[in-house]
Point group: C2
Amino acid sequence: MASLSDPAARTAARVAADGADAVHLEVAVPADAARVAVEAVADADRGAPGDEEPLDERKRTILRAIVSEYVSRGEPVGSKRVVEVARLEVSAATVRNEMSALESLGYIAQPHTSAGRVPTDKGYRRFVDDLSADPALDGARRELVQELLGTASDVEDLLARTSSVLSQLTRLVSLVIAPAVDAARLKLCELVGLSPGSALLLLVADTGRVEKRSVELPAETTEHDLDRVRIVLSEQVRGRRLGDVHTTISRLAEDAPSELREVLRAVAEATARELADDTVHHVFVGGQASLAGDEAFEREHLSRVLQLLEERATLARLLAEATADDRPTVRIGEENEVEDLRAASLVAQRYQLVTAGSLGVLGPTRMDYATVLATVRAVADQLQATLTDLSR
Amino acid sequence: MASLSDPAARTAARVAADGADAVHLEVAVPADAARVAVEAVADADRGAPGDEEPLDERKRTILRAIVSEYVSRGEPVGSKRVVEVARLEVSAATVRNEMSALESLGYIAQPHTSAGRVPTDKGYRRFVDDLSADPALDGARRELVQELLGTASDVEDLLARTSSVLSQLTRLVSLVIAPAVDAARLKLCELVGLSPGSALLLLVADTGRVEKRSVELPAETTEHDLDRVRIVLSEQVRGRRLGDVHTTISRLAEDAPSELREVLRAVAEATARELADDTVHHVFVGGQASLAGDEAFEREHLSRVLQLLEERATLARLLAEATADDRPTVRIGEENEVEDLRAASLVAQRYQLVTAGSLGVLGPTRMDYATVLATVRAVADQLQATLTDLSR
DNA sequence: GGCTGGCACCCGTCGTCCGCGAGTGCCAGC
DNA sequence: GCTGGCACTCGCGGACGACGGGTGCCAGCC
């Protein structure tokens, strides 16, 4: 049995018990969907967002049908099937004409002559832009999210659970990065001597985050010196913003008696370093297994994507970049700048604590955007609520 | 660019620069290898270890040739090729007779009639048992290991780097678990009030490990109460073994004035919980991407193995079980009890700090056991040396 | 008795071919 | 502008056969 403290295991049990994973495509795509709710990412080399050709209602319906049908079945969809699933009152031949038009507009493509059509990245993009303003998550899942993420005593643990919930609900790779600590207030700054010549610097933020870093001390540092530094630190830096701590300590070093100067300098440097690669330690990735099952990535490619997921720094940057504003972001296929993600889509959203963190999922372009968007949004909202609650 | 603090990125750069990844099968398998260096795992349903039929020299040579040829080429190997690579002075027909014998002994098998032979799990096992007592790592790699893991200021960081080095050198999945903290001495026990009603418990071990856990406090707890608890804690538990801290604090709670009792009880409980799922937070996994490239795991299977790798608790137990004594352990295919690992092999070794931690790699049964064993051993030795050095 | 070359045989792989069917584009007609 | 009809395209899957690597067996040699 997996320990109870293993977030993945816990969530798995819960999700399975709930039977919620049987739900599929529950987020209906209303036929008369309001336009352009989730906006296209402004992407320099793709032209300004909103430069979409006007599509008449029928074409939009057909595109919608092709996308959702392809997403759920995974096979190219032909004119006949479009007529069926879209409940169109016209013949297949008419639909063929429309499809031919959609193809020359670049929204769909045929894998080979005389096969059904498949959405292109542009087609998915249009589909997403045409989604209703607020694809809501169905009740069962919404409750599940609330139940699993509604309470927390520990930010770290909450974020780990969030990642787990996200990947289990979407069956995609989940990514969660913690908010930068810079703006948080320092609650504790402690120096623990481990051995002569080295100590451990502890920084505790009011968000409950703990940063640690070992510090090399000048050989001649005495236990007494350390005590004095400790006092200086706890008096001078407590309550400050973590982003300022480095400067503060550096200044303290200048004014300090010479025997403490080097120690304080070392501490200042350790602080700076720790904050610099702070994000690296706080990226949560879950559900990588889902990638393996997906036909969209063949072995070689899969391997490179997995590798990318191991590079936390890159990942953090990627996700942060993608979530520049408060709206959910969708990056589809080619819209991703990273070469290895050209066959993948990223759906991400920011959440706020003191500063912003972000979360999202990564999967094949052939994903159920409506449900995924709804899920990401619901999880982000719940996370934010719980975090706010947590910090009172 | 990946941040410098990203161990994977750093090692990758280093390994590539060194050109060491071009090295392949450098660990020669001496023809007159001493017997049974690495012993078979005692596995109840497999019969006692050491129950190996005596094999004459030629059969052993042939088996060895088949294993190493199959490992490096990946294709079933026929009698003709065996003659070539093993430099045998007999004809292919003779070898065929020997191979037929090896097959009926269960060491090798044919994927289908009239194909070359492939080692069975039993064949690999025999090969491993027949390895020379001390397959040494070649000089270049040994130096690389020493350079990359020779120094450290921080155990956490060192272990992360170890995992990275292991996976890069072997191109397999690396697993590293930190030693249990139970035996370590407590250097600092601090309680940081985060908000009314909750605080963060910090435990710092002399190994530099930091454990944290949030504690729910009774609503009526005052800041003053917290100060008193803090003093009690720092006076009473500092220097004790972490494994004993729970008991100590529980006792303190009983003797404490009533207004502090509940607080101390909460702290005691938090301590117990934290230590209980301590290992879960300290499992390092690297190189998962390598699994994706391997033909041995088809998609469905691959996905389950990746999932297994996300369950840190299971993983920790698995690795701990496998490294019961100080010798390197090899678990080949069927020898693994976990169903999903029946096509995989685990090569692991313990290392000691205050108590034992373990490390190892996981990959397809078709792996280069000699090199992998040498690498795991070298890395474990280096890790231990650096850790010892670190704690002076 | 053990080793050998020779030989018949097995069977997976690969390329070719062919029929089927899904899907298309186009067209004439309503 | 929509429709049914029709010819066409092309991928897929099964059948077939040549090829070749590898085997087991056997008669003969040392």
